[in-house]
């Protein structure tokens, strides 16, 4: 066997293994680096499709917020008001008055867990008014999650600093 041929054989075997197991020439062989792909890929796709906003408008609220809005309007708005300001038509008869849920400070002070506890267990158990009933049995954990997601959209924007 000639020397060059032997070298060729070794090269072939070596090259094969190198190509198979080492990260080399990725951009040369496959175009862009996979790490270049935006992690928000599905959102990006959506944006391309809907540049025509008037035709297929994006709802203001996401799925969970929409579900929460329906529940809020059905169960909560009677006392807390349509926009959560504590001015529902039944608020008139209540003492203490229902909480203003749009209050920015209140919203920042309460974690989702805090809210879930009062919504699910009622005001009485949390040391608040017993006029706030427990909704845990009617709504369950998931739906209370929707309501909280919607409540967060009711928060006033940050108060302007002087």
């Amino acid at each position: 066997m000639r020397k060059t041929t032997r070298i060729l054989v070794y090269l072939a075997v070596g090259f094969g293994f190198v190509l198979a197991w080492l990260p080399a020439g990725r951009s040369l062989l496959f175009g862009s680096d996979p790490t270049d792909i935006d992690m928000n890929d599905s959102l990006q796709t959506e944006d391309i499709i809907t540049d025509d906003a008037w035709r297929t408008p994006i709802p203001d609220l996401g799925y969970r917020e929409r579900e929460g809005r329906a529940l809020f309007r059905h169960y909560c708005a009677l006392c807390h008001g349509q926009s959560g300001e504590g001015d529902g038509f039944n608020a008139y008869n209540l003492d203490p008055k229902p909480r203003d849920l749009s209050d920015h400070e209140f919203q920042t002070a309460q974690t989702d867990e805090d809210l879930a506890e009062v919504i699910g267990g009622g005001g009485g158990d949390a040391g608040l008014s017993n006029a706030m009933p427990p909704w845990g049995k009617v709504l369950g954990e998931r739906k209370i999650g929707y309501v909280i997601a919607y409540l967060r959209t009711l928060a006033d924007s940050l108060p302007e600093t002087d």
Binding site: P34, N93, M132
Partner: protein, 665 residues
């Protein structure tokens, strides 16, 4: 024998060269695999798991995560294989809620996270489940017919299995499906499962006795400009088409005289008419200037639409003129009719309506025939009945399966501006249907914002897919006809326009009648039918006083008392009067423990959302109160009286207290 060295060298050379080519070919597959996108995500995911691991067990589990294709295989659901979890690794892991996509936890929905294994991903999101690259898997490859649904339309997929109009926890879809039925899409388009759809548009016979040609012309030209809340769409007709339609409608049924002068009806007393209008609670169904329930027609402007003679006839017996109407037949006296109609004609006219021309309208026969052709052409009979036209054939294309139609089968016509996607096509079809080509007939509906998204979602939900039976969720369509004399009275008073019984009927009233006999006391019910009192002061749509004769009320009350009962609800809770101590304890529970006064008023104290309880002792049966307190959502699942998880003893005492209200001991 011995070959010379040169020949052997050549063989070695070819052997080496072929080995090289062979190894290069062999290397392609592992190289491609090495550079798959999911590999990076999986390594990323393992790193994040290691970072978040709190216990040694979690650490061990994280280290065991190798790079491999992951898939959800569901052999029951047409052999579905979804490999989406090869990149979307954290969907089932609640600890990844704050990670960035694609590693993030799937948001909680009615089917996630518990049912990933039985649904997979493509069932809801569409795309190509078997693919393992982002472009292919998301269905963005040009030859893939069902690309991923944009997130805002994902609810459409709930409708693949949930066939009903109302789909729980899918607001947008439910709204869209309701709108499709309300707006009458099924009048023109055939859709599987909606063959039984019925229009509630009025019959068009006898219009010449009811209205004027001028009003009709304005109405047909643009109904929403006359009454913004109407469901009738803008048909975009030309002037000659409008004229011919009016001519045609005017002569139905043939042989009727035209505009009738109001000669035989003397003037009534409009003030008494106004009182009657209020007392009769017309706004329980109708609206006046937008105030009222809104399930029946807006009444402002009615005086410019109808003439008084027709109005009197209609109020006397609506069913003679519109057999399918939801309006009950009140027992009005002749004087009542004169006064009520006088009030409506004096007060509710539209200043912008054209004045009727005091001259008989006799259209030429040719115009009438042209009008009939126009009526047919635009499929008016899809919604309106009229004598002489019995064919109610649908003029639009069938829409079954529209939600999965491949884009290359869609006719974009002159809409070059539209992105080539199904949902954009549907959106443009629904919001500006005539923009695609000339000669299209679909009318213009007013749909904006979320309503438009809802209708697009509802259309996308109609995939026409055959799904396994065990996945299908469909309510059994109730079929119930109240029997005998009860049924006749229910028809006369159109109880089912508002109330639900055995799954049929309307939803204007919050009170289904199916267990009415177990709920209220017979004597109270009879009085209520004769003179409805206010139970929930907050409602606009309250029970209407039908002025029914006493024997009708007695019969209705007695029938319900005996037939509409539920054996699970105790008929007799207390064998004798409850102990005053229990009543006192019940009162304490009512006010102090459960805070019922937040919604219920007693003696003028308390909230007014729930029913007034002043007369609860004569209205409700104690057994009902007890059953209610233990879980009112058993009656209707949307009841707002919260379920406190009341213990049995408390329920008994609350029943004792509430049943004592309004009764003299």
């Amino acid at each position: 024998m011995r070959n010379d060295g040169g020949g052997l060298d050549r063989i070695w050379f070819w052997f080496a060269a072929m080995s090289f080519v062979f190894l290069v070919v062999l290397a392609i597959s592992p190289i491609k695999d090495y550079f798959r996108e999911y590999r990076k995500y999986q390594i990323d995911y393992r790193d994040q798991l290691l970072e978040r691991a709190g216990t040694s067990r979690e650490l061990r589990d994280a280290n065991r995560e190798g790079v491999r294709i992951r898939q959800i295989w569901n052999p029951d659901y047409p052999n579905r294989v979804d490999r989406c979890t090869s990149c979307h690794l954290g969907v089932e892991n609640p600890g990844m809620a704050d990670a960035s996509p694609p590693l993030r936890t799937h948001p909680m929905t009615p089917h996630t996270p518990e049912q990933f294994a039985s649904f997979g991903c493509v069932t809801c999101h569409r795309g190509q489940g078997r693919a393992t690259t982002m472009m292919d898997a998301h269905g963005l490859a040009s030859d893939w017919a069902t690309p991923m649904l944009p997130l805002r339309y994902t609810e459409a997929s709930c409708g693949t299995c949930h066939m009903d109009e109302e789909v729980p926890e899918a607001n947008l879809l439910s709204r869209g499906r309701t709108l499709m039925a309300e707006l009458g899409c099924y009048a023109c388009h055939e859709v599987d499962g909606h063959e039984a759809w019925e229009s509630d548009a009025p019959d068009l016979d006898g219009l010449s006795r009811k209205t004027s040609p001028e009003w009709l012309r304005t109405w047909i030209a643009d109904p929403q400009s006359v009454r913004p809340t109407t469901k009738m769409p803008y048909i975009q007709l030309g002037q000659s088409e409008i004229d011919s339609l009016v001519a045609f409608l005017w002569t139905r049924p043939a042989g009727e005289d035209d505009f009738l002068q109001d000669e035989e009806n003397p003037a009534g007393d409009p003030d008494r008419g106004e009182t009657l209008f209020r007392e009769s609670r017309c706004i329980s169904c109708h609206t006046v200037d937008g105030r009222g329930n809104g399930s029946a027609a807006e009444l402002s402007g009615i005086a410019s639409k109808v003439n008084r003679r027709w109005l009197i006839e209609y109020l006397e017996n609506p069913h003679a003129l519109q057999p399918e109407t939801k309006m009950p037949r009140y027992y009005f006296t002749r004087q009542d009719l004169l006064d009520l109609s006088q009030y409506l004609m004096d007060e509710l006219w539209d200043p912008e309506a054209p004045p009727p021309v005091e001259q008989a309208f006799r259209p030429p026969q040719k115009m009438v025939e042209g009008g009939m052709r126009t009526f047919r052409k635009y499929g008016c009979s899809g919604c309106h009945q009229i004598s002489g036209l019995t064919d109610r054939s649908r003029i639009g294309p069938e829409l079954t399966g529209i939600g999965r139609k491949p884009v290359d089968q869609l006719d974009f016509g002159r809409r070059d501006d539209l992105p080539r996607t199904l949902h954009d096509w549907i959106g443009a079809k629904v919001s500006s249907p005539r923009s695609f080509r000339d000669g299209l007939k679909m009318p213009q509906f007013i749909l904006e914002g979320e309503d438009l998204t809802a209708v697009i979602t509802a259309l996308l939900s109609n995939t026409g897919e055959v799904i396994p039976e065990e996945y299908r969720v469909e309510r059994v369509i109730a079929n119930y006809d109240p029997p005998g004399r009860f049924g006749e009275l229910v028809d006369r008073y159109r109880c089912l326009s508002c109330h639900e019984v055995e799954g049929v009927g309307g939803d204007i009233s919050t009170a289904p009648l199916t267990v009415e006999g177990s709920r209220v006391q017979e004597s109270w019910l009879k009085n209520y039918l004769l003179r409805p009192s206010t139970i929930r002061p907050i409602l606009t749509d309250r029970m209407i006083p039908l002025r029914m004769p006493e024997e009708d009320a007695a019969f209705l009350a007695n029938f319900m008392q005996n037939v509409y009962v539920d054996d699970d609800i105790p008929a007799r809770l207390f064998s004798e009067e409850p102990d005053p101590a229990n009543v006192r304890r019940g009162s304490h529970l009512f006010y102090e423990r459960y805070g019922c006064q937040a919604c219920h008023m007693i003696d003028g104290r308390g909230g007014y959302f729930g029913p007034l309880l002043d007369e609860a002792g004569v209205r409700l049966k104690p057994g009902w109160v007890y059953w209610w307190v233990l879980g009112s959502q058993r009656w209707r699942d949307d009841v707002r009286c919260p379920d406190y998880g009341v213990p049995d003893r408390d329920a008994l005492d609350l029943a004792a207290f509430i049943s004592s209200l309004g009764r003299t001991p």
